[in-house]
Subunit: 200 residues, 4 copies
């Protein structure tokens, strides 16, 4: 497996998953309440759409940064990457569940836990994959192997798991807190950091 | 982030969004009115499909022309491009809302405003992105930096916002005027211009 | 516009349209007739799926063969190619209409005419696009310009329009004849020809 | 047809099919049983999703390994590859049928047979395609032609058909045994083998 084709395939799956999110935006059935009212009531869909879109976008950028460090790939990377794609591919569904249940009296907390939990699972798989690439120095590019502070990258990646663990754990308390954390996290990651250029 | 992968990912999202438009074309339920009658009544769907398809197509061409000027990309381009893709990704939904409500007695104007408004938002983000690329001369290719009249390109891009602002503003007056403007604009852009080759 | 990016974008749209065809295959609702009976009654869906899939596949091969002759692209190619992609993008819908109405007592003929007619429109656009590329000798690759019998290619492309025109015209007579012609045509094109290698 | 474009198109179709699987995960309708209960009852959907996702992933890896051996492609490869893509493109549907009927009292066995049978058909086409590439030595890369034990590769590919034939045949006995075999097979293929590196 060449690294190039693995990247191209991953790009394809991520691009499709991010675009399929739009299928969760519903067209209100004519004849009921006014269109304006019906659209306004759908605000959880818009919030969930934007948060999921940007989260997948950030994962795509991070995925690219991680792959750029590699000179070649092994079977573990192939397998972990497939699991990562599966966890990304499932996000249009968890986003749809959240959009449907966020304003519901029952199921609200579980939907939020499922939403943040799917981000957590994705982040954990990403962390394991990244950890493997950083520890398998024979897979890294010559310049990366010497230059970068690989331990610092790994520590930072692990820290990134905390907000999603927190968001998932707080879902029984308040679904709104859960989604607020997810939204804040992605805005934080999307904005340029003074410490590092996420665009790598 | 290499420019090449940013372009490939953008191409992917745009290609998927443009192809997902077809999901808005409905199959009439058998048993009601005749198929011919049912298909004819769906004409707003066909108009919305064609207009949205060509609009996304024109954006794709313009996106390519813009990216070709660049030698490299920075974090702002990455972020603005992600917002642009999000605004494109949402078009199958605004197209579906328009198709559903254009012949409806109520909601017609709001659906048209949402439709033209989504094109306006997309155009504004595109303008901001293009403006950033033209002003960040260190990102431009050597030959572009010297040769082209960058101010003229920027002025022309800004002018392109006017029709969509007008179309959105006129929606309360007549939804048909709004969609007519959107259709005329894209036909105008799609046809070869005597002044410039849009194919870049 | 570089030829490479035009091809990549076209490949993307064609790959998505061909894969979206699967959404027309329905899952029978449990509880009614037996699953076996329900699946068997859906045979028009399977036939329409296979015919449309192979037809889009053949168009993709022909598209590639056509693009390979080109050294560069102009604005007309860009525009005609966008129209071609639009006519391909619409096929999952015409396929769905045929699958829904082929066994229906009314609408059967119109659905078949729409199905074959969409292939006809696609073929006409393809013919116009190919004609433009063959007549615009300054766009052709040096070796193609000298070597190939361009007139023969054009005549053969024009001949390819006849079966779809016939299939569309015969729809009022029998929807089954129409779809049979479409199926025979694509099997004929898919099988290797003793005269030419469609794989180019 | 260049090998590169055939691979890119195949990657596209496979990436789309694998991502469309998510559309089979349903959002429970609010108001009935609790969300937790409704989600738990959908477990066949999750199992079918994961098994199909990984199976398509393994096919993608094997497809890449097969294509890497080739120096060029002929018309038979083009045609067989199109049939392979068609058999992959149909998997979101057979997965959906299984997910819908696995817990149903009737249709369970047929749905399982359809599911395993679609894997069997895909595997048979893959085997025929691979057999053709291995026997057409003029299509192989120079180093592959000399180095590899092509007979061993072919025998191993043929052996891979057995589990799916068995899984399909056992469906009338127990749908659960059928899906268990499919799941075990893909886990077996996904895990690294001590004998060969599937990442090739």
């Amino acid at each position: 497996m060449t690294k190039g084709r693995l990247e191209a395939f991953s790009d394809g799956v991520i691009a499709i998953a991010i675009t399929l999110l739009v299928l969760n935006l519903k067209v209100p059935v004519p004849g009921g309440t006014s269109l304006g009212h019906a659209l306004a009531r759908q605000w959880p869909s818009y919030l969930a759409y934007a948060t999921s879109f940007l989260t997948i976008g950030v994962v795509w950028v991070n995925h690219h940064t991680m792959m750029r460090r590699l000179a070649t790939v092994d079977h573990s990377i192939l397998l972990l990457n497939m699991l990562l794609l599966m966890s990304i591919g499932v996000l249009p569904w968890t986003t749809a569940v959240l959009a449907e249940y966020l304003r519901n009296t029952s199921g609200q907390d579980l939907a939020a836990a499922l939403y943040a939990g799917s981000f957590l699972v994705m982040s954990v798989i990403f962390y394991v994959l990244q950890r493997h690439t950083l520890l398998s120095t024979h897979l890294l590019r010559e310049d990366v192997r010497r230059g970068a502070d690989l331990d610092a990258i790994r520590r930072r990646a692990r820290t990134g798991l905390l907000p999603y663990a927190l968001a998932t754990a707080l879902a029984p308390l308040s679904a709104y807190v859960t989604i607020a954390i997810c939204t804040v996290v992605v805005v934080f990651y999307a904005l340029p950091s003074p410490l590092e250029a996420p665009a790598g």
